[in-house]
C-alpha cells in the first residue's frame, strides 16, 4: 500500500515509513559501513521516529538483513534468468565460460547503472562479504547459496576436467575480485594514479570477465599438468 496525495497536481506516491527507513539505511550503510552508522542517523535522514525501526524491524541486524535481501532477491532472480537462457541455448552442448561469468556479473552492474545516479547498493554488497557478524551467513544462505548451486555446475560444464572443489576455489577467487572492486574502488584510483575509468559498467564487466576466465582456465590447465 502506498499513500498518494489526492489533492492538487501531486500524484507522486509517498514512500511509507518502512521504505523510507530502508532507503536511508541502504545509503548510509553503503557509505559509512554497518557499525559506523547509527540508527539515529538513519531515522533522522528518513524523517521517522527512532522507535519506528524497532517496530518495523526488530533490531539493527534485522534491518541490514532486510536492506540487503530487498535487492539481493531480484539480483538472484536476474542471474538465474540469464543462466537459464544460456543453458537453453546451449542444449546438450558446451557452455562458454565467458557467458557464464557474464550472467553472474552483468546483473550487479545493471543495478549500478539503473536509476540515473549510482546506486549505493553494489558497494554495500561488496563490503558485506568481509563483514563479521551473524547476518552475513544468513545472507549467504538466503540469497547466495542458490546462485552458487546453479553456477558451480555451470562453471563445471564450461571448464571440463576441473573438480567441483577446484571450481569452488576459482569461484571464490573470482567473487573476491568482484567484491573488492565494488567495495574498495578507491584503492584502484590510487593504484592507477586516477587513470582507471570505473564509470563505464560494461567496460568493467568486460575486464573482469577476461581476468576471471583467464584465471579459471589457467587453474584447469594446471590440474591437467599435475595429472600428467
Amino acid at each position: 500500500m502506498s499513500r498518494t496525495f489526492e489533492f492538487g497536481d501531486e500524484t507522486q506516491p509517498v514512500a511509507e515509513t518502512k521504505d523510507r527507513i530502508l532507503d536511508a539505511a541502504e545509503r548510509l550503510f553503503a557509505g559509512q559501513g554497518y557499525a559506523a552508522t547509527s540508527l539515529r542517523q538513519i531515522t533522522s535522514e528518513a524523517q521517522v521516529n527512532l522507535a519506528a525501526v524497532n517496530y518495523h524491524f526488530q533490531s539493527k541486524d534485522s534491518l541490514i538483513l532486510a536492506v540487503l535481501m530487498r535487492k539481493m532477491k531480484p539480483l538472484e532472480r536476474r542471474r538465474l534468468e540469464l543462466l537459464d537462457a544460456l543453458e537453453e541455448a546451449a542444449g546438450d552442448g558446451p557452455l562458454v565460460l565467458e557467458d557464464v561469468l557474464r550472467a553472474l556479473l552483468v546483473p550487479v552492474f545493471e543495478r549500478k547503472a539503473a536509476g540515473g545516479g549510482l546506486s549505493p547498493f553494489p558497494q554495500l554488497m561488496g563490503r558485506m562479504y568481509s563483514e563479521p557478524g551473524d547476518w552475513v551467513l544468513q545472507i549467504f544462505k538466503r540469497a547466495i547459496a542458490g546462485v552458487a548451486a546453479r553456477f558451480l555446475p555451470a562453471l563445471g560444464r564450461a571448464l571440463p576436467g576441473m573438480s567441483r572443489t577446484e571450481i569452488a576455489w576459482g569461484m571464490h577467487f573470482s567473487i573476491g575480485s568482484m567484491a573488492h572492486f565494488l567495495a574498495a574502488g578507491v584503492l584502484l584510483t590510487h593504484l592507477s594514479d586516477g587513470e582507471a575509468d570505473m564509470s563505464d559498467g560494461e567496460a568493467v564487466v568486460n575486464r573482469m570477465v577476461v581476468f576471471m576466465s583467464g584465471g579459471l582456465r589457467a587453474m584447469a590447465e594446471s590440474r591437467k599438468e599435475a595429472a600428467r
Copy 2:
C-alpha cells in the same frame, strides 16, 4: 624496554602495557571486526585499565592504525626484499610473472603459518580493505603505496605490452582475490561443501598464483587483440 622478573626461575619478559593492548586488540579486531570490538573488551583481555588505551594511543582509530602498522611494516619489508632478490637475479632480462606474484603473496602466508597457531593478522588485513573510515587510506599510504610503487613496474616487466593503467586493474583484481580469501574464508567452506583445504598455506599460494597469473596474462592478450 621490557621488564623481566628478576627473582626466582622466571626470566620470561613480561609484555608491557602497550604491547598487551596491541596483542589483545589485534586478536579481537580480527575475530569480531573493528567497530564490533569495544575498548572495554580489549582492556579487560589485556588486563589494563580502560584509560590506558587513551594514554598510549589517542583514540580507537589510532589504536587499530598502530595494530596494523606493527605487522604491515615487516610485511612490506619482506615483500620488497623478495622482489629485490628477484630483480637482482633477473638482471636486465625479463621477470617471471609467477615469481613476482609469489613475492607479493608468500610473506602474507609466512605470517599465517608462523608462531605455531594461526595468526589473526591476515584475516584482519583482508578485512581492512573493504572497511570504511579514514584510517584505511592512511594504512594504504603508509604501507601499501610503497609496495604498489615497486610491484606495479615489476608486473609491467613481467607482462610486456600492458599499459600501466591496465596493470593497475589487474593488480586490483588480484589483491581482491587475496583479500577475499583472507577475510571470508568461511564462504569457501560453504562453496566447496567443506572440501577445500585452506590449512596448507603453500598450496593456497600456488593456487592463487595460477589464478592471478592466468587472469593477468589473459588481460595482456586481450589488449593485443584489441590493438589488432
